[in-house]
Symmetry: D3
Subunit: 320 residues, 6 copies
């Protein structure tokens, strides 16, 4: 039936095989100074948050599985695996910061008023980790929102996915930077510094991999339409209008006149379709049934509800 069995070349239908293993030693030593559930909660951003390590690992892992190019596939597996190890490091930091609190709640070690004060006093949603997750590291962000694969923006085209990876590493680097600015514990700061730095290194790798594809812009296969690819539509106008390399220079033509921003194809800017006679009849019937009378001033539910002497004419002055 015309199909051929492919097993000799991985661009032809064969994937490099792969499997995970685990060794009992962290990639980075974690030394926490004291129980601090509030700080643990902030750390969750990089465990189960949108810019965190699970999102990173899954972004690269799903790309790796579908990738045929041997070099990129290997790189994606290397980095995905490292991100899983980072997920362990940040998760372990969370667990260590919660360790004492976890034991006390599980054993109900204090009387209730004290437990309540501890749970609610740490601030910033750490109560969720304690009450719902028992002090373990849950896959939520610091607001308690469960991780979702909606964070993963892989689309299966290398020249787009590598740009997504570059941007993701930049975002993750910044969130680590913010966490470092909030942390006094020297062991936590040290580990966060390592994790932040690795995002820089990964960004560099993805940049190299992007520019190892030539050309890589525009991404994909279809060229842009030259009538529209160099125009800049000045849609927001008034005081504050500005220019810069993004709309000025040899590559750009600015379109500022409102009339030139509409119906740029030269048509009438209208939308139309063709209907079969049956469809037309149904559309007409629907229109007739829900026709809006534009004359008259019908009494409405709000008119009924406003009552006699309703407050509509009293000025709002807030609470005096």
């Amino acid at each position: 039936m015309g199909s051929v069995w492919i097993d000799a070349c991985n661009t032809m239908g064969q994937e490099d095989s792969f499997m995970f293993m685990h060794s009992k030693r962290l990639q980075y030593t974690v030394r926490v100074s004291e129980t601090n559930p509030g700080l643990a909660n902030l750390m969750l951003e990089q465990f189960g948050g949108p810019q965190g390590e699970l999102a990173a690992a899954m972004r690269y892992f799903t790309q790796a599985i579908a990738e045929d190019d041997p070099g990129r596939k290997d790189m994606l597996l290397d980095i995905a695996t490292e991100e899983l190890s980072h997920l362990e490091v940040i998760g372990t930091i969370v667990a260590m910061l919660n360790k004492g609190a976890r034991g006390k709640l599980a054993e109900a070690a204090d009387e209730q008023a004290e437990m309540y004060r501890t749970i609610t006093g740490a601030g910033n949603d750490s109560h969720v980790t304690q009450v719902l997750y028992g002090g373990g590291p849950p896959l939520i962000n610091s607001a308690g929102v469960p991780w979702t694969a909606a964070y993963v923006d892989t689309i299966g085209e290398p020249t787009a996915d590598l740009r997504s990876n570059i941007a993701a590493e930049a975002r993750a680097k910044i969130v680590y930077e913010r966490l470092i600015a909030l942390t006094m514990d020297p062991g936590v700061r040290d580990a966060l510094g390592f994790l932040m730095t690795r995002e820089v290194a990964h960004q560099k790798s993805f940049e190299k991999a992007l520019y190892a594809i030539e050309p890589n812009f525009p991404p994909g296969k279809l060229p842009g339409d030259p009538r529209f690819s160099d125009k800049y539509f000045d849609m927001s106008q008034g005081e504050g209008n500005a220019s810069g390399p993004w709309n000025k220079g040899a590559q750009w033509e600015i379109v500022s006149k409102r009339a030139d921003q509409e119906a740029v194809d030269g048509g009438d800017g209208q939308a139309s379709t063709q209907l079969t006679p049956e469809e037309k009849a149904a559309v007409l019937a629907m229109a007739a049934r829900s026709k809006s009378a534009t004359n008259g001033d019908p009494i409405t539910g709000a008119d009924l509800g406003a009552g006699p002497g309703a407050g509509k004419t009293t000025p709002l002055r807030g609470r005096d």
Copy 2:
């Protein structure tokens, strides 16, 4: 009390003001050939999908509001506004492709078996648009998943956000390219070509804006730790190991030995924390209570449930 009223300079606390208006003419003329709910459903990817126009508009709009740099703020408003106009174009395409089917369902124009065949025969989830949304353009993707702000990766740092924008435009360009490959209707193809091209133009603007910040790498304020910023950890090994610019060359040091990938700080790769005596007592009590007996072979629920002569020794051969 030491605070100063700021109103002269927008980097000091004043934002450029802004407001939306609307004019009744599309940015691009839409001419649809015939009712096609199945195609309409695919188009929803760019209306309410993760790479679609609402995600784009909201990504740039939320950045614009918090942005202080006058040039970038203006650019973000220009492009956010254009993306809203694109949201209208793609939404109008969806509405036109559904127009005939919408009327027929609202008026129950055919007998039920025919209506059922039409609704389910168009394939690919178009039944959701018909039954739940009445043929209008809902903010869902082509699988029926509601749009979520989890798609918006704005984090409030220009050197990261501009990279996110570059990547987002690349992804949107590719999805349009795929839709074009699936569409025969010439008017739809024409409008999709325009929308795809504008993503290319926007990517160029965001690139220019990124490189108008110097330096822009690494993003943010903190430098990376030089002990770790140039290392490449070869985490995935075995046949298929590859090298390329992402791990080879003057900028890189490859770490392949497993022992050198663990505890890279030179510590013991262990995790530790300090506990107060009370915390320690609680942790010990919890450990004692849930201690696992590692000797013996307890009868389990599965042992009970397997029954006498359970099928555990019968080979799985599927259905013969």
Copy 3:
């Protein structure tokens, strides 16, 4: 300590008590003609969809618990309980339509190719019910999206909640109407007709309950500001501008001039805040660090990636 024990009057701190019971007889007899997983899948809209019976039951139930007014509380409990019974009716319809298919998959009664054809041929996501949920009625809509409490718009103010209830009943009525238009099975049509009619009856009850509060408009306690409560801003202009009772008549003043739509408070339409000296210093430092150079034309990643002779000047003509 000044607090008083309240137990005599339910507006004072006592709730009417309540508890659910169950009796083994449906509110409406369900007679299904034949196995039809595709139709079952469409029915899920009213089981686990946004306009379905669980959303209705939970909307009224959560209102009932917090409601103090004895009449409204009783009504909300009556209708919430009836909606739970409707949830059973629609769920039973789903289960009956899936019954045969469920047995066949569980027992792998056909050979695989036939099973695959059956599962994928029914269309419209019924495969999800079969493969993931085993033919039972899952709390998803017809696209497979899990039910979420984000569908419940209760906010705890009767003059708003009753309006939400009225609207919810109107929406549910319409979705039933659409399902009736798609169903030939006489027993299913009969039961759907009952369920649809009850939404009409419930809407009437909620309307009566809303107008039993006087005044009920505007909802809540604060009056509107009379400078703005009767104005209609004509934000969308151009060909197609229209008028009707919603912007014309004694109650309305139309504002069409663009300049009168901006800064309607008479101020400058600018935004400002006060910063402490420390905050000001930090804001300035951040601005300097991320300053955008508006002159020059920096080489960008896209410039690098476009390569020599990139396709930017080739017109898009689709696939020839």
Copy 4:
């Protein structure tokens, strides 16, 4: 092939065209007194929350695109556009309230313990805006939950959608009223008062538009079944039973007897379906395989796990 090209009449297949533009001036002047991230976080309810401005704008915008009636379409576009401008006003308030804190975190302007105290001390999830979103206005509610299109209840039928709009405006009005009760900053109170008032005005417009359709009740096309449309089922009984206009009067017949609430169609209240012989055989096989033995008292996992002298007979007295 019998189809006709439609371009003369917008009920026949042509949409009014439309496009967004932007002008750099807010609809309402925003003057914030001081940095207050905790207050900013509460304001997010009306930016990215279920009753907020994005939900409003998207509700009306998606209705407008599919609407054929010229008057309603224009009104929906007018109000959708105004809601987008409100989204800018409330977003700008958020940005202004966060401005000082944003700068300090980005520049790590304080030492860590002070930064940590500031971030966690403001309460109510403002840490999410700072750490994850860098002080910009994210599309989340005040709990950190991302905005979802599940909030948008548009279903494509005007007599239902207009009721949804009326209810949505009522809810938004109330949430603004609550925020005003929590805000001392006079500039913020002033702007909130404007936004709250506009919800009142929009509710009035939607009421007028609903009653400009005659008849508009019951919504849609199918009438209710007169056997069931005027009955009130008294499902919740016992002390506290009440009556009012919602179940008493000429329009109503109350059904209180339990037997009359079941199987109201006069059937046996049973559910049934027809199975093919093959389906029947599979269902029987499945039943036999998972048959429950109703006699005997099998040892269970819990019996095993309770151990000798398990605590089942010790009274629960909490912590003594």
Copy 5:
């Protein structure tokens, strides 16, 4: 300050360290017969679905991080790591089944009508994988719903978590069984058989680990209240009432009388609270403002909307 530095014993504050590595060989050889995007889509249930491998890996991994018992911790890491390797196997199956289709869409290898037929004809949501994800394995289920950590039910108490793991393995086993019943491709069947079997093995391990804790029932620390722990409330009554080991026998007391099911504490079944005088005043004011008039029959919006001679008295007969 009373705290002690803990580093000698892992129940005292030290975690076993751990890190992931990767080797380029699958745990199980995957040999796919031909491109089949429809089958690939069904396989996604075990990649990104609720019962799939990512959910399993993350369930055990998050438990492992917080676990102090050395034996359980090691077991959880072993099985979590194996589940990641299974995630690779199932993901690779998806990629292989999509490989040909992926190439054709990326290269637009067929003309549009043919591409459209291929994309929509495979049925069951495979269009989402193609159009949005480019044929790679996305973290969605077979309906296109993104994976969410809401699927992970870890709560940080071993006697509960191990039961969750047992149940999860049972569910995963069943979904694999269903997929096997739908697959003719012998290589895919073979790999699915392996994955299914491993769920059986994992269930056995978790059962053994649960019963290695003595006692393990009831889970946690607090005993049940003996007044209520052996009662069975017969809440659903009428024809079909049944008994079995779950409510009959020495361990049980059945409570069938309705009156004995209410207020089982012997109180009045009422709810009450204490309010301060200020709270009482506010509650009274709120009650007065939203008081429902229980007499009279107010004209409502529905009354207005029903119009003269509205359809309320016309019987519903569906489409004749």
Copy 6:
């Protein structure tokens, strides 16, 4: 046409019928001591949280509808109905704890600064209940995350679903135990103790029902493959390796050698598929287009962005 009408036997196609009713008396008397929104917020875990009463009720209710076995069906309906009554009890506790605060916000009873302090000072997200939900009991967890049917793990196979139910009851018991440890209010503690105990009783019922099916392990119909059902793969190695009943004893064979963990089928551990010539051509074209050049060291965007003398060589020392 070969189908038979089934109405005599409920394993043959007939369901027991069922309907809900309501009686105005709580299952357990609720006596709250004082307004406490912070405590109310924690209680939401068992109202709208993943381990709460709605999840329980819906888990058993959806199983009941599809269940054919008369005994299990009755049990599932009994317990589902009781869980609905528990939902009322816990919801009523929430409403009572919020009652005073609700009135004060609705009436704006205090001046704004005091209201703001009250709302934000209660801690732990209680502001969401107040501002968004008006003090009623919303279907969210204590972090504000809306309830989702993704929490319901019913899959339609009794031997799996009963295990899911057992685990769910164990989890719910633990969360109640934690809440009891945090609550001083004696009336709340008393009611929580009742609810916690009922989870114990329900777990016992589900255990009995599971073991009333013989055999019940492995769940489902297919046996495991004996080559793989008794093996334990020691995937995580190094210091800390442990053994116990889960991998030691007559039932187990431990596989520790890395080479024996890969390609356990005895194949080459590779993945392959067959492509048609057309597919092969497209795959090759795609590979060529996105080929990665593995030699050379291309200039990247990051190289451009690093600027002259970029900070890459400055050690990270945090804030000095």
